[in-house]
Symmetry: C2
């Protein structure tokens, strides 16, 4: 069972940068097995005409909460307190577990249609999300959200996460991590307990760190340290860790993150939208930290479109640093692809022989790509995600000519409308 | 000849804000002649089913240079000097007049497809742009770019602008303004000359002011004033003026702009991309200035998509000011619609009886609008422009079911490819 994407303009890794050129890409099973040279014994069942397509590595959304997808545009232009405690949490409290299944599918529809092939998800209803990912065909890291004080390490939640992990041990597309929520929502003893279980079970960690100024102020007052130091001291960084936000990180914090091999996910839209400002991305890169990119949940973005996020990432640091040479289009593409793969320990994120076949094909006739001139710059500065026509994940076509092959879009829309009505959201259609 | 958009979800003005609801919109000739109530003597030739559409006022791109559209993605991540003098100007020098016609059509394709119905354009080849606008059906303000030192007021360029204005005096969609480029490229005597002609001819002004720190520093050194004071002292503000950028404007500058009724166009993508930073939009609004929104040219954006620009505008000031309540979705929509109309003296920018029928219809089934929840927030935070299916300008449908009715898109693409080759641009397709 082989597929060839023939004569496509493709963006391949080229040392620390990227090079675009015409290529034939050979896919067998879940892998890229050849570029330009036909592998021995390869036989093609399908040939995709790539002549009018730009083929890129599938984008990796390194931080989101897909269960929140139906909460887009419900709580905007509000203070953080009114947003979280006044609107989002009351909605979460009314959610039924299966709502998370439909919400995750809704988020995945938007992600696939805009070229994302993999997402790192933190949420409570991991069984529902796992079910949605198994059906959609996406690659996902499913992280059980964990919140607790000093002593109440909730073994039930942990056991649930381990059970899911064991049940899907054979599914290469799914990875399970533990998701201790944040320094401000996890006591030091609780965090130490999570770190010990992660070590015992060989699991990675997905955590929010240093998202806002209040978090840093309270941490200093209550524990005499920074959020980064607090998480390090609990032993969390002894396991592979991906830390979302990291907006308030000092030079010393950045050195700690770099020394411990912690990857940081920056979420520009969410960080601005909630008034938290701009993460020091250029400074983190300079410190040697592996920085990747995420959308965060739809309640604080409100899109799940990595092209929108790449555009923001490429522009905002030029604005804050007063120079057009701060964060290049090449760096942006890396943060949205291979840096994410590195952070999550996945063999994907670039078009190379031996990597997983996670690919997005863009229509070269789209107005935003005409003329194309520089393909990497186009991804960061002129594309919006609607150019994506075909998406391949783990060697399987999940979108062909803009039609999803694994998700019944109309059904998801109907279920979401029903859920929104039950949750009392002001859905206007 | 009447058209009804039946049973559409539409965003109408509601005092200083907006209200969304189900409406029938009646169009006759170039105007909106009724909302919900059938006007006397109205007969419908066409009924558009609006039940699955969100109808919004057409977006107004209040500052661009469409002749630059083929220069997207050719000069990114460069210093301002390398960008302008090393790349853009040498390309401009090689351009032939007719290239501006095709480039303008290219920019207009991207604008129409993303819901823009009107653009304010500054350029050199105004005859070519006029020809493109007459054909496309867009509404446009065509501004002759003017650059000069102390004494060399070039009457030839002015005469050309007046000739075009007189030739198209009957075309309600076209307005002509004078476009003295910027304080740093126009001497004081030259600017005074332009102001006098504008007064004599009753023409408005479109100018760049205070885009970068170097401009302000040099102005203080050479003339002992700010760029805003310099332009005011030349008499420019005695005619209706729209000023692009206004990034370096002090409190006193803002008072001058407000007192003189100068409208400001903010261009967030371009300002960040060239390292010029963030315009003080919240402060300008507080000073009572009419602020509108533009993309700037494709050489410094690199898109001509007002949805991308609305998203940036809604987010960046929350980031710089550290509060989610800075620049609301309602304000963003105003800046992209009725503020632009006010700045340009046009009877459009809102869905009201008696206004020009400039409208964009969005697909309510698009993933980025599912669920919709809050339609105004959706425009600022989750839409990307690809949701637009139909565009009506001056009562005429210029895009129907995503197909342009006035522009031969394939022909434009071919001509642009030919031009890029001649100009030596690295066009990869």
């Amino acid at each position: 069972m082989g597929t060839i994407i023939a004569n496509t303009l493709a963006i391949l890794p080229d040392g620390t940068g990227h090079a675009a050129g015409r290529h034939d890409i050979f896919i067998e099973g879940s892998d890229i097995v050849g570029i330009d040279e036909t592998p021995e014994g390869f036989s093609a069942d399908e040939v995709i005409d790539g002549s009018r397509r730009l083929t890129i590595p599938g984008l990796i959304n390194a931080h989101t909460h897909t269960y929140m997808s139906m909460m887009r545009n419900v709580a905007d232009d509000l203070s953080f307190t009114d947003w979280l405690f006044g609107t989002i949490e009351p909605i979460e409290d009314r959610m039924e577990p299966e709502d998370a299944y439909w919400a995750s599918l809704l988020g995945q529809i938007e992600m696939i249609k805009s070229g994302t092939t993999c997402f790192n998800d933190q949420q409570m209803h991991i069984g529902q999300t796992t079910r949605a990912v198994v059906e959609s065909g996406m690659r996902s890291i499913i992280c059980r959200g964990l919140v607790g004080g000093e002593r109440d390490l909730d073994e039930r939640r942990i056991r649930e996460a381990l059970r899911e992990r064991d049940a899907f041990a054979g599914c290469d597309r799914l990875t399970f991590r533990l998701g201790p929520h944040a320094p401000y929502s996890c006591g030091p003893g609780y965090l130490r307990g999570v770190a010990e279980i992660a070590k015992r079970e060989g699991m990675g960690i997905h955590i929010h760190i240093a998202e806002g100024q209040v978090e840093s102020d309270n941490m200093l007052r209550d524990h005499g340290c920074t959020p980064v130091e607090y998480v390090r001291d609990a032993g969390i960084f002894e396991m592979p860790t991906i830390a979302a936000h990291c907006i308030r990180v000092s030079e010393s914090d950045r050195a700690i993150l770099a020394e411990n091999g912690v990857s940081v996910v920056t979420n520009p839209a969410s960080n601005m939208k909630l008034g938290n400002g701009f993460a020091p991305v250029p400074e983190m890169v300079a410190a040697g930290i592996n920085v990747c990119l995420g959308t965060d949940g739809a309640a604080s973005n409100n899109a799940q479109n990595m092209f929108r996020e790449m555009g923001l990432l490429a522009l905002i640091h030029k604005g804050t640093h007063g120079t057009p040479q701060c964060i290049s289009a090449d760096e942006v593409l890396d943060m949205a692809t291979r840096n994410g793969a590195k952070a999550l320990g996945l063999n994907t994120g670039s078009i190379e022989v031996g990597r997983k076949a996670d690919l997005a094909l863009l229509d070269l006739g789209a107005p935003s790509l005409t003329p194309l001139n520089n393909p990497v710059a186009a991804l960061a500065y002129s594309a919006n995600g609607s150019e994506v026509t075909d998406v391949i994940i783990d060697g399987r076509t999940v979108m062909r000519d803009r039609e999803l092959t694994t998700i019944d879009e109309e059904r998801v829309r109907c279920e979401i409308a029903r859920i929104c009505e039950r949750l009392g959201l002001a859905q206007m259609v």
